[in-house]
């Protein structure tokens, strides 16, 4: 069981790269520092995109979960 509380879920199912990243980056200023958001994506590229985006923007990917047809990414706003 993850030891973080999900403050918001961003549903980006059906969107292709780069839109899940673009939309998440636009949401970041609306999220408090320290809060965690859940991102729902169907884009396989999100698996590698989000950790790379987090490394270059100073955010943190806490976890990536997969099931057929759905990817869940948990991002914590660090700054």
């Amino acid at each position: 069981m993850a030891d973080y509380e999900i403050k918001k879920t961003l549903d980006y199912k059906g969107l292709a790269c780069p839109m899940p990243i673009v939309k998440t980056s636009m949401e970041m200023p609306k999220i408090a520092v320290g809060d965690v958001v859940e991102i729902l994506s169907t884009d396989p590229g999100s698996i590698a995109d989000f950790p790379a985006w987090a490394r270059t923007t100073g955010q943190a990917v806490l976890e990536v979960k997969q099931e057929p047809g759905l990817i869940r990414i948990y991002v914590k706003r660090q700054k």
Partner: protein, 419 residues
């Protein structure tokens, strides 16, 4: 702008001044032929939206600092100081140009305004004034290349989850992997976009043709090229080059992405592999009898030549050959091929959003498509596909907008079926 920044921007400007660029900057006679060639001007007739209008901003800075005339008598001609105002004007010029190069086709001297705009874009990067969305996406792409291993297991799982969709289009021949990864010495390394919509149809076609292929770990799109940053462009492309060379792929097939194709084909130098646009393979497999398609497009179909694949990449006939096997009623856009109107979504505008500008500046594209009476349009570039989809909705055009690869994949004749 302080003197240090101005000196740095002048240095960057000078890095772009090869013989061709000097010709472009010194030759313009202001004849005005390029004015009507620009889809933005055709749709929004203001002088700032002409090719010559955009180029003049860069040209006047060139005259001030890099021409003999400007250095001896800067007051004698119209010149512009390289300052914060000039940088703002660079932004407006560079990001109202899609880099389609239609103006170059009409220019009697062949002046390449996209190349001139590449100076403006590079100076914007130097001044830290580039669109931050594009640099964020470019940096993300580069970071992926630096640490592909950490996400490789997750990526393989995500790709495996797509395989039922491929099987639904065409059953994978026995003994083959539906979406192969990391295959050495493959005949084709397919570089897709990250979405299922680009990987699934290509996989079905490659499997139907019986090709020994592998899927690249990277997406084809090059955000560094959109933002006009040669270093980022090279770093992003190099991920794919290194992977293809490591796997000793014979051929790198680029998905429906015009910029990605042009960068890999013409802007990354010589490689041990051949670079092709995926549509070229579909046409080749059809001609060789390796795949068969049903003629299953009922509506009148037209085709949009993407600027970076057609006018700037030279691919005109392969998509038309594929369409000839799919469509019952095909109609060309007028004009077409190298004279086709840009869709209005290039140069990074799609990734940046810019919906209002894209819709207003592409009215001429909408009118061109409507004039065909077509009920469907297809293309071979993701940017163009997105822009045409947005135009269709904005202007209530009532079109079906298709990817040609997707149309072909859905038309594959399966084993035991009749065409």
């Amino acid at each position: 702008m302080d003197a240090v920044m101005q000196a740095e921007l002048k240095r960057l400007f000078e890095t772009k001044l090869n013989r061709a660029m000097r010709l472009y900057l010194e030759t313009c006679t202001h004849c005005g032929v390029c004015v009507e060639a620009c889809h933005v001007w055709q749709s929004m007739p203001e002088s700032k939206y002409t090719a010559v209008g955009r180029a003049e901003i860069v040209r006047k800075v060139f005259l001030k600092y890099f021409s003999l005339e400007g250095r001896i008598a800067p007051w004698a001609g119209e010149t512009i100081e390289l300052d914060d105002v000039a940088v703002e004007r660079f932004y407006d010029a560079a990001y109202s140009c899609t880099g389609c190069r239609r103006c170059m086709v009409y220019c009697p001297f062949g002046i390449d305004t996209q190349q001139i705009m590449s100076i403006a874009k590079l100076l914007l990067v130097g001044a830290d004034k580039e669109p931050k969305l594009l640099s964020m996406l470019a940096d993300m792409s580069i970071a992926k290349g630096e640490d592909v291993e950490s996400s490789s297991a997750g990526f393989a799982e995500a790709i495996a989850n797509l395989e039922p969709q491929v099987e639904a289009l065409y059953p994978t021949p026995a003994g083959r992997k539906t979406i192969p990864l990391g295959v050495q010495k493959a005949d084709v390394m397919f570089v897709g976009l990250s979405g299922a919509h680009s990987i699934v149809p290509a996989a079905a076609i490659l499997n139907a043709a019986g090709i020994n292929w592998t899927l690249s770990s990277f997406e084809a799109v090059n955000f560094g090229a959109f933002m006009g940053d040669p270093k980022r462009t090279k770093a992003i492309a190099q991920r794919i080059v290194a992977e293809a060379e490591r796997l000793q792929a014979k051929r790198v097939a680029i998905v429906e992405c015009g910029t990605a194709y042009r960068v890999m084909k013409y802007q990354t130098g010589e490689h041990s592999f051949e670079t092709v646009a995926f549509v070229e393979l579909i046409a080749k497999y059809l001609k060789g009898g390796m795949i068969r398609l049903r003629r299953n497009v009922d509506k009148r179909l037209t085709y949009h030549d993407p600027c970076q694949v057609a006018r700037n990449g030279g691919i005109y006939e392969a998509p038309r050959f594929v369409i000839s096997k799919l469509a019952q009623d095909f109609v060309e856009l007028t004009p077409n091929r190298e004279y086709n109107w840009c869709c209005g979504g290039g140069g990074g505008l799609i990734a940046m959003g810019e919906l209002e500008f894209r819709m207003k500046s592409s009215r001429v594209k909408m009118e061109q498509v409507k004039a065909t009476g077509a009920g469907a349009i297809c293309t071979i570039c993701e940017n163009c596909h997105t822009q045409l989809t947005d135009l269709n909705a904005h202007y209530d055009m009532g079109l079906d907008v298709h990817s040609l690869t997707m149309l072909a994949a859905h038309a594959l004749v399966k084993p035991g079926e009749k065409a």
